[in-house]
């Protein structure tokens, strides 16, 4: 049994390591950072709208280079933003199926909680839908039992295959993470960049 747990730990680390390759840091030259997820190898980056509220975002790529970013599209209601940086050959992440997430299955969230770069946290899917008691009856979000902290916003949420299923967004209460599901992200990009 201990062997199984060790193997599972190794696999968790592998999934986190893989997902970290598409994780970027988004700063604005002042204190506080957010996260972002590389969507396209030619420099398309996804994050939360609330991460780039201030102008002139600066993106630090996984290889350490920093690039100023242009805000290509943003939607405050969905809390999504698409950024463009001048780069090519960036590592991208395999896409998962957010409509097929099942309560109880494991997910990992990557980001920079309190500025700790590339940190991983794991939990299970609680369910999908509008968050209870927050007054957003029509908002579709992933609910996961893990703790997001300042700096996680905009980072990837991945399944046990390491495939992207959502964008980390906020907490609902002290214990429950909310993420924008991938299919909502896709629809946003389709509409914003078509």
């Amino acid at each position: 049994m201990a062997n199984l747990l060790r193997q599972m730990n190794g696999e968790l680390a592998a999934v986190a390591g893989e997902a970290r390759r598409s994780l970027v840091t988004i700063g604005n030259g002042r204190s506080g950072v957010g996260a972002g997820t590389i969507w396209h190898s030619d420099g398309l980056i996804l994050t939360n709208a609330h991460v780039v509220q201030l102008s002139a975002p600066l993106v630090s790529l996984p290889d350490g280079r920093s690039r100023p970013a242009r805000i290509l599209a943003h939607d405050d209601k969905l809390d999504l933003a698409a950024l463009g940086v001048d780069a090519s050959g960036l590592p991208t992440i395999e896409l998962g199926k957010s409509k097929q997430l099942r309560p109880g299955q494991w997910v990992l969230a990557l980001g920079h909680p309190w500025g700790v770069a590339g940190a991983a946290t794991a939990g299970v899917i609680i369910g999908m839908g509008p968050p209870p008691e927050m007054g957003w009856p029509n908002r579709e979000l992933i609910h996961a039992s893990l703790r997001l902290r300042p700096g996680h916003s905009g980072g990837p949420m991945v399944d046990t295959h390491g495939r992207l299923v959502g964008i980390n967004t906020m907490m609902a209460g002290p214990e429950v993470a909310l993420a924008v599901p991938l299919h909502v992200v896709k629809a946003f990009l389709h509409q914003a960049l078509a």
Partner: protein, 298 residues
């Protein structure tokens, strides 16, 4: 590449789907609905007492999506349990298991259905202990605490083991801020009592009392600062028949200290009904002991 991780993750999700067929939505309060567990195919549902805020106009949401009306069979505030009867048959109860082989560190799931679909959180067993008495006076067969996140609406839902069997009913109201489970044996006992009698028996003394400060010498001798002064004793009631008098100060019942009214209420539990118990009193400044046969509250 990630075989074990995927296998465990898939198994967890499959467990949720399997056990989820026995989890219903309970609509019996103004804010967010809560959860309940199918007790038997005939529509009997067990849920948490504190989520059933009204006695009428109760609805139950089933796994297949339909919503049916339900009536309150009975409730036991001391263990935070309530039983409902939904107007439906051929429900699927989950597999129940007694938590005898459960150990600290075991993976467990909490399931809920505050909305249409089943929801889940994962955690481990944090603490296991012997039988205990809730602040409201209910006897629970064992202490079962987890580190599970009790998402809004999860109260009344099941604690599920890795095999998908139900270990008990989760409630966030027995002890505030701690995820506790009422284990299957207590659940069985309370549900059967509620189905038979509609309520859980409570002990009765037939007195009115108020907490008073004890004299200094007694404080040192008893290790408690207050007792209960009897301000009325019902004629021919259990206390009267046992020889308790107006003006006596109750300091212990059945070997347990009585400092406040809550202590006495907690001690007048169903298992003490009809039992002859020693009662320690202060009368004329002196400690005395009398025997009282606890009556039943109606």
């Amino acid at each position: 590449m990630t075989e074990v991780l995927r296998a465990v993750s898939d198994a967890l999700a499959a467990t949720v789907e399997m056990a989820g067929s026995g989890v219903v939505r309970v609509e019996a309060r103004r804010r967010l609905p809560a959860s309940g567990i199918v007790w038997s195919p005939d529509g009997t549902i067990v849920t948490a007492h504190h989520v059933v805020e009204r006695d009428e106009n109760i609805a139950v949401g089933l796994p297949d999506g339909q919503t049916v009306s339900a009536t309150l069979v009975g409730r036991d505030p001391t263990t935070d349990l309530a039983v409902l009867r939904a107007e439906i048959s051929n429900l699927t109860p989950p597999a129940w298991v007694e938590p005898d082989s459960l150990r600290v560190g075991h993976l467990v799931l909490a399931l809920g259905r505050p909305g249409q679909s089943v929801q889940a959180t994962l955690g481990i067993v944090s603490a296991l202990g012997e039988s205990w008495r809730t602040p409201a006076g209910g006897r629970v067969d064992r202490y079962l605490q987890t580190d599970l996140v009790m998402y809004p609406g999860f109260s009344g839902g099941p604690l599920v083991d890795a095999a998908g069997a139900v270990l008990g009913l989760n409630t966030s109201a027995l002890l505030r801020g701690i995820s506790l489970t009422v284990p299957t044996p207590t659940l069985h006992q309370v549900v059967e009592t509620l189905l038979t009698h509609g309520h859980v028996r409570r002990g009765y003394l037939g007195v009115s009392a108020q907490a008073v400060r004890l004299p200094k010498t007694l404080v040192e001798e008893l290790g408690q600062e207050t007792g209960l002064l009897l301000v009325s004793v019902e004629p021919d009631g259990p206390a009267d028949q046992g020889g308790l008098l107006l003006g006596d100060t109750l300091v212990a019942l059945d070997g347990q200290p009585v400092r406040h009214l809550d202590d006495l209420l907690a001690l007048l539990s169903s298992d003490r009904v009809s039992a002859s118990v020693p009662v320690r009193i202060v009368r004329g400044g002196l400690l005395q002991e009398v025997k009282v046969t606890v009556g039943e509250h109606d």
